[in-house]
Symmetry: C2
Subunit: 335 residues, 2 copies
């Protein structure tokens, strides 16, 4: 920038003002022109770290997900990045690959980067110790002036984009019920994930309200992956062969469940057993058969998260509630 200033025959301060001046454009037309010309000619590229140092804040926002290759997070990330672009923010993505400790580590890293904000997109967990450590790090981050936004519940005093996981669980179960299903099983994910708990809880409550409480043996737990869904679904239908419908707590698992039902057990979907997934990721409609599922506005969640972290800190924690919707396709049938 020195060079640019010199080349334009102005002071360093003036060059700084026209090159990065935020709002109050208090530079004369003539000088402004000269500086811009000089910058152009010298191919000046501003130095973001230096700016961050001087301003004590940067234009990068962090996004911590479990797995970028998972379409659930892919959709959220796409939404967040689209919104970030409009604000000229850069997005730094960290993937924990579902190792709990990494979330904390990456939050620290983002704090070191002096990220302006971070979005915690992965599900919270029921591990009290980990949650406490994370809360402390979050507090530190906010004390440094950073913003933190969670997608999904993490704590009452955090800005959060709330997904209708409970309501969605209820929706799915009631949809199945209306189709005439009475023997409903649940292929669940890891029970320490809050997202899983909420979805399962929503299903449970709805079933109880319908007068048919969900028996414990009708729930089986697997990894939140395709393979996990396949294994869990096969196990559940083997142990409880009278089940006529399955709620699978995310679409990726549901894809596995569909494969397991068909290839491992030879059970026809939807004639022998109906299947409902959760999330409505992009490929859900292309599965075989097209997956009925609970749609969550994933991209919108990403956008909303960026929206929240743009708003001034605020006195009370902010919340955005996103609704779920049941989408019935070909993996469910009436009985």
């Amino acid at each position: 920038m020195q060079q640019v200033a010199h080349h334009a025959g102005v002071s360093l301060a003036t060059a700084s003002r026209v090159l990065h001046g935020s709002g109050s454009r208090t530079v004369g037309e003539e000088l402004r022109r000269r500086v811009e010309a000089a910058a152009q000619e010298l191919r000046y590229v501003s130095n973001a770290p230096a700016q961050a140092l001087a301003r004590a804040t940067s234009s990068v926002v962090g996004l911590i997900v479990h797995d970028v290759a998972d379409p659930y997070f892919g959709a959220i990330a796409a939404g967040a990045m689209r919104a970030a672009r409009e604000q000229r923010l850069m997005v730094m993505i960290a993937a924990t690959f579902r190792e709990p400790g990494l979330e904390l580590e990456y939050l620290r890293g983002l704090r070191a980067q002096r990220a302006r904000a971070v979005i915690l997109a992965g599900s919270g967990t029921a591990d009290a110790a980990a949650t406490a450590e994370l809360a402390e790090e979050i507090a530190g981050f906010e004390a440094d002036g950073g913003r933190v936004v969670c997608i999904g519940e993490r704590g009452p005093d955090l800005d959060t984009v709330a997904m209708a996981n409970r309501a969605g669980g209820g929706l799915a179960v009631r949809g199945l019920w209306e189709l005439g299903h009475r023997r409903i099983g649940v292929v669940s994910g890891p029970s320490e994930l809050l997202t899983v708990r909420h979805r399962l809880d929503g299903a449970r409550r709805a079933l109880r309200a319908l007068g048919a409480p969900l028996p414990l043996r009708a729930v089986v737990e697997g990894d939140f992956t395709r393979a996990g869904g396949r294994a869990a679904a096969v196990r559940l239908m083997t142990e409880q062969p009278d089940l006529g419908a399955l709620l699978v707590l995310n679409d990726v698992m549901a894809a596995g469940a569909l494969a397991g039902l068909r290839d491992d057990l030879g059970l026809a979907v939807p004639t022998r057993v109906s299947v409902v997934g959760f999330d409505d990721v992009p490929f859900a409609a292309d599965l075989s058969p097209a997956l009925s599922t609970v749609r969550l506005p994933l991209e919108q969640a990403g956008e909303a998260a960026v929206g929240l972290l743009l708003e001034p800190p605020g006195d009370a924690p902010r919340r955005v509630e996103l609704a779920a919707e049941l989408v019935l396709r070909d993996s469910t049938a009436a009985v």
Copy 2:
């Protein structure tokens, strides 16, 4: 850090050495202990921008993709992030959403961030003007000491992780041929994308070598998306109803093609028409029917890319060649 140094009763330099000292750990045991204790107690968090400024290099690498929600890029990103993690690098992802100009803009942004390196994961394009501008920006980036690695061809003097797009196109066509297909059509993506050109070219050559050159009317072009694949496949099979097999130039398009064939035209796959995709994205095996496709080692490409940017600049451009493999599943049948 001042505080930490003072608290530990050492100089700033010593604190810096134990806190961020790279390798040559030339600090006494006792002092080291004291500094670490002080840092712990004061909850010291290092300031990455300041480090970047002082060192004139950072620990962030940029990854520019077309779309994070696309499973192709999701897989590449996952591989890159896994590798980056081992090197304690942070990954800044930028998505162009297929707007050509954005690639250049993001490269500039990453340059401003003083990213240590950037990975260009999206396909190059045949637009000469855009390519030239990009080349200039790349040169500038490298002149600043940054590394650039491309996934897919971008130019002969760039470090690149080369995907076997041509070979893959040939593989697909020969696979179909061996199944007895003689009337093969291609659902192509935007022809300005180099990736598309190479895949199509590979298919063309193979067909010519087989003595059955691909007629122009047997190729139809669509967006590199599900909707694009659907529309293009429907159009192709409507105009050329005698085609017995389709090569679709990526799996996302193939998902759309499958839907179009089934829902719009009522053509059975694979009995009436066989379909081969390209990429082998995670959901390919779950489509209806399970998609035969050309597998590309996507995650490995991401890993290889960060591997390349870790190696010292090198005299000659480096290349990593990744092979393709034909995976036959249920969307193809013999005639």
